[in-house]
Amino acid sequence: MSELEESREPRPDCSFAHASEAELARILDFYQVAWEYEPQVFPILWDLEGNVLESFAPDFYLPDMDLFLEMTTLQQRLVRKKNRKVRRLRELYPHVRIKLFYARDFRALMLKYGRAALVSELSGTVGQFAPGPVERSIGDGSAGDLSGLGSPEVPERRSRSARRRAARRAAAAYAAGSPSV
């Protein structure tokens, strides 16, 4: 066992919204890059009373890179929506680093790793990250300087209502300091 491998801890079960997300998680694990799945919810739209109308939970957070990743490998019509959310996130939280991972990026990654045939197989399927002795991650799970925004310990995809509740909590945490919209 190498020096790097010794520092890894077993990762709990994690369900993904899309198989491509599970595949990216496997790639990150393969290269021993720590990741968290949807650890934080960012409010991006409020009403006049300060209630959160819209929020955004990027798919991955890479704590060692302090980088969020958002995958847009689903239908093309969703890409514009995600582009808008990312743009909004960057306006409201300029210190947050986020990278959009488009379908073409995922295809290129699969091509690079000789798994081009997987792209069509993965399209539209639900992802399930099966835990096993080989699928582990490194890192301590810290969420950088954004920990007040959500619950970084929750590695599973939340329902829409759960996201709304989390967004409301995050908005309350922001209280008077929340960016005006």
């Binding site: 190498s2 790639i27 393969f30 890479l62 890179m65 990278k99 990654l109 790793y113």
Partner: protein, 190 residues
């Protein structure tokens, strides 16, 4: 997979000619020579893609140097199924503690392999580590790593040649070219 007997037929466009590569390698060699003047250097090449670049670059560097080779498993390869983790397939053959190391890469795109290698090599206590990459594809970057010497920035297309492969083929092309999409679509279905 079945590449065309004439590999050039699988290339849609030549991005970098043999002459352009040769000139750039000489330029990089001169910069590295100046930066390490009076010192010694250990070049570490990451197999297999950087082999032609390493072979040409080392002959353009005019300071005493040692070379070493490393190879790590790639995602999607045979090692993926057996372990699920990146593996050092070939380790350094000599210690690098206290030495100035220059990691020689053919291309840096996601930065995932490089990130792993840097962490591994830093654990061996070199005096310094710098990175020299012939090609840089920043559009693909997932892990931001400062690169000290860059030959060319390349567009976000699938490139082969001068060490770069698709399915272990095309490494011996003397230029860097863009692989025709039909080539990898056909080969992935074969």
């Amino acid at each position: 997979m079945k590449p065309s007997p004439d590999m050039k037929q699988d290339v849609a466009e030549i991005l970098l000619t043999e002459e352009e590569i040769r000139a750039k390698v000489a330029e990089l060699g001169a910069r590295i020579t100046a930066d390490y003047a009076g010192g010694e250097l250990t070049l570490v090449s990451v197999l297999k893609g950087s082999l032609p670049f390493m072979a040409d670059l080392m002959r353009q560097i005019d300071v005493p140097l040692r070379i070493d080779l490393m190879e790590v498993s790639s995602y999607g390869g045979a090692a993926t199924e057996s372990s699920g983790l990146v593996r050092i397939l070939k380790d350094l053959s000599a210690p690098i503690d206290g030495r100035d190391v220059l990691l020689v890469e053919d291309i840096i795109d996601t930065g995932l392999t490089l990130n792993y290698l840097l962490r591994y090599l830093r654990g061996k206590n070199p005096r310094s580590i710098k990175i020299c990459a012939l090609l840089n594809k920043p559009a693909r970057r997932l892990v931001e790593i400062p690169i000290d010497y860059i030959g060319f920035e390349v567009p976000d297309r699938f490139v082969v040649g001068y060490g770069l492969d698709y399915g272990e083929v095309y490494r011996n092309l003397r230029f860097v070219g863009v692989l025709r999409p039909e080539a990898y679509e056909e080969q992935s279905q074969a």
